[in-house]
């Protein structure tokens, strides 16, 4: 038993160490964000604030007048933009892809298999190829610098459709056919039988869509030209280009950007991780 015990101690300490090292950047981000301006620029670098201060958050989030000019990082509006865009992208994404995924799994229609093959082939196309023409198209349509312009490309959810299809394949055909024999309409079957069965993966997909939209960077950076419409990542990237030296301020901006997603992810992590495995096993 002695050897097993040593091994248990070694393995558990290694895992704890690895976790600690992994979490250090995130913890440091939070502690530095509460340091007074300039306090982190010392050697050795301080890990804990000598004096906890809200000044970075105050400067970042509150609009102030300095020498008659309004001074504003527009982080609060960016938080609002990010939230609105992520919620819309999630809701619309679910509305579009859950019925489609179910149809591809369980409803018989001409051309289904061919369309399915095309969708799978479409998975390999990197989104960046579409971005340049899409920008020009959106410019003609007046969608540049609009929320719709940010959200639309993300709604082409090939992955989501295939993900829902994979889950819907597990619904027994007998169950649907029995409901049809009882005279239930297709809409009724979808609402009363299919949707409840797909509830768990709906949560998973909602998480994927929300986090994907929240963290998206390249496309919002391209399509949003007005600072007032910036999402958080775009706003933070713009601030860091000008205020790179203000470490404490930048950490506060990073906390504002990462905290909401961590708060959503942690209680729902089970759904996220199970979805990730479902996706990888079918490969």
């Amino acid at each position: 038993m002695g050897r097993r015990r040593t091994r248990a101690i070694v393995a558990n300490s290694l895992v704890a160490l690895l976790t600690a090292v992994t979490l250090v950047p995130l913890v440091w981000m939070v502690t530095v964000s509460f340091m007074p301006r300039g306090a982190s620029s010392q050697f050795p670098p301080p890990f804990w604030p000598e004096r906890w201060s809200w000044e970075n958050y105050y400067e970042l989030l509150v609009r102030r007048e300095i020498d008659g000019a309004w001074f504003d990082y527009r982080v609060l509006p960016a938080l609002g933009n990010s939230l609105l865009i992520a919620v819309l992208a999630t809701v619309l994404g679910l509305l579009l892809t859950i019925p489609a995924g179910y149809a591809f799994a369980k409803l018989r229609f001409t051309g289904r298999e061919r369309l399915l093959k095309l969708l799978i082939a479409g998975l390999v196309v990197p989104g960046q190829v579409a971005m340049l023409p899409l920008f020009l198209l959106f410019k003609e349509l007046g969608l540049v610098n609009s929320y719709a312009g940010v959200i639309l490309p993300g709604l082409a959810g090939i992955f989501s459709v295939l993900f829902v299809r994979q889950a819907a394949l597990a619904i027994p055909d007998e169950m649907l056919d029995a409901a049809r024999l009882d005279g239930a309409s297709e809409a009724r079957i979808f609402r009363s039988i299919v949707l409840p069965l797909l509830a768990p993966i709906t949560v998973t997909l909602a998480l994927f869509l929300f986090l994907g939209s929240w963290n998206d960077f390249l496309w919002p950076l391209i399509v949003l030209t007005d600072q007032h419409k910036y999402t958080l990542p775009v706003a933070v990237a713009a601030i860091v280009r000008e205020h790179a030296q203000d470490g404490e301020l930048m950490m506060a901006a990073s906390v504002v950007t990462t905290l909401p997603v961590l708060l959503i992810f942690l209680p729902l992590q089970r759904y996220y991780i199970s979805g990730l495995l479902g996706g990888s096993i079918k490969g």
């Binding site: 950047p25 982190s40 579009l96 369309l115 960046q128 340049l132 023409p133 391209i222 958080l232 950007t257």
Partner: protein
């Protein structure tokens, strides 16, 4: 048309229409755009667009920075894939050990960086990698090593960004690998143990063949991911120092949305697309031939 068929079209048509509008159509247009000299003048007036054939591609092959971007991107992939896959596998093997407790807790903590915003965490890592006040050089000083100018030295910039990327993404494949590890046949493991196979021998001859396909698939998908690096250099180095972190996508973004050479940028996007497609195809072919996939 049966009621099932009508419902099916009602359910699938909206998303299919969007896919055509924002993916199929633009990708087709990208082909056309790459054959034109679309530039800032054309942005003002479509009459200024001329057909230039393969001119953009020829021009690119003569552009030193494009070659530099290709080389940098290749370096990101060649160093990054083993680094990230190795870290994922190491963490997964550690978590898989039967003596480890609170697995679910560790798993979530190790996965957490994956769900955070690249931009926000890249900002954090910029400070972690700071030459004078960063925690990383402080940790090196404990080991008696001199400080490294991570983001200022052209030889250190790619490894520095890769440290960040590995930290950010290793949790994803760690989860995938733990699932694969729990599917390794236990009776085979037990038989190898009874035959006196060493820990390494068991890993090499039992574990590795069992998780091989998963490992290969993860590597193939990682390559595509590393070829698309953009936000990290955009936030951490602005492509510098000495253009050492200009990636293909970074080059495309600058060419397209800083200089508004959209024709040229489209050519870059298509080259990247073809590269990703070819590499993925070759990798899966090799995998299939050796029956790893």
């Amino acid at each position: 048309m049966s009621s099932q068929e009508r419902t099916a079209w009602l359910f699938t048509a909206p998303v299919l229409a969007i896919i055509v509008a924002v993916l199929v159509l633009p990708v087709t247009l990208a082909l056309a755009l790459s054959l034109t000299d679309y530039s800032i003048y054309a942005l003002a007036d479509w009459d200024n667009v001329r057909f230039v054939g393969l001119g953009n591609f020829q021009e690119l092959l003569r552009t030193a920075l494009f070659w530099r971007a290709l080389a940098n991107t290749a370096l990101f992939a060649v160093l990054g894939v083993p680094m990230a896959i190795g870290a994922s596998l190491g963490a997964a093997l550690l978590l898989h050990d039967t003596t480890v407790r609170w697995k679910a807790l560790w798993r979530v903590a190790l996965f957490a960086p994956y769900v955070t915003s690249v931009v926000a965490t890249a900002v954090v890592w910029r400070f972690l990698l700071n030459t004078r006040f960063g925690l990383i050089n402080y940790a090196l000083s404990w080991l008696g090593l001199p400080p490294v100018d991570w983001l200022g030295d052209p030889h250190a910039s790619i490894p520095a960004i890769l440290l960040f990327v590995t930290w950010k993404i290793f949790g994803y494949n760690m989860i995938v690998f733990t699932a694969a590890l729990s599917a390794v046949p236990q009776d085979l493991m037990e038989a190898a143990r009874l035959d006196g196979a060493s820990r390494w021998g068991r890993f090499r001859h039992v574990t590795l063949p069992a998780i091989g396909p998963t490992l290969l698939l993860a590597s193939v998908m990682s390559v595509a991911g590393f070829l698309q690096i953009f936000a990290e250099p955009y936030v951490m180095t602005l492509g510098g120092p000495a253009q050492s972190t200009v990636t293909v996508l970074y080059f495309m973004f600058d060419e397209g949305f800083k200089w508004w050479n959209l024709g040229q940028a489209s050519a870059v996007a298509l080259i990247l697309f073809v590269l990703i497609l070819t590499i993925t195809f070759v990798e899966t072919r090799i995998g299939k031939r050796n029956q790893w996939l």
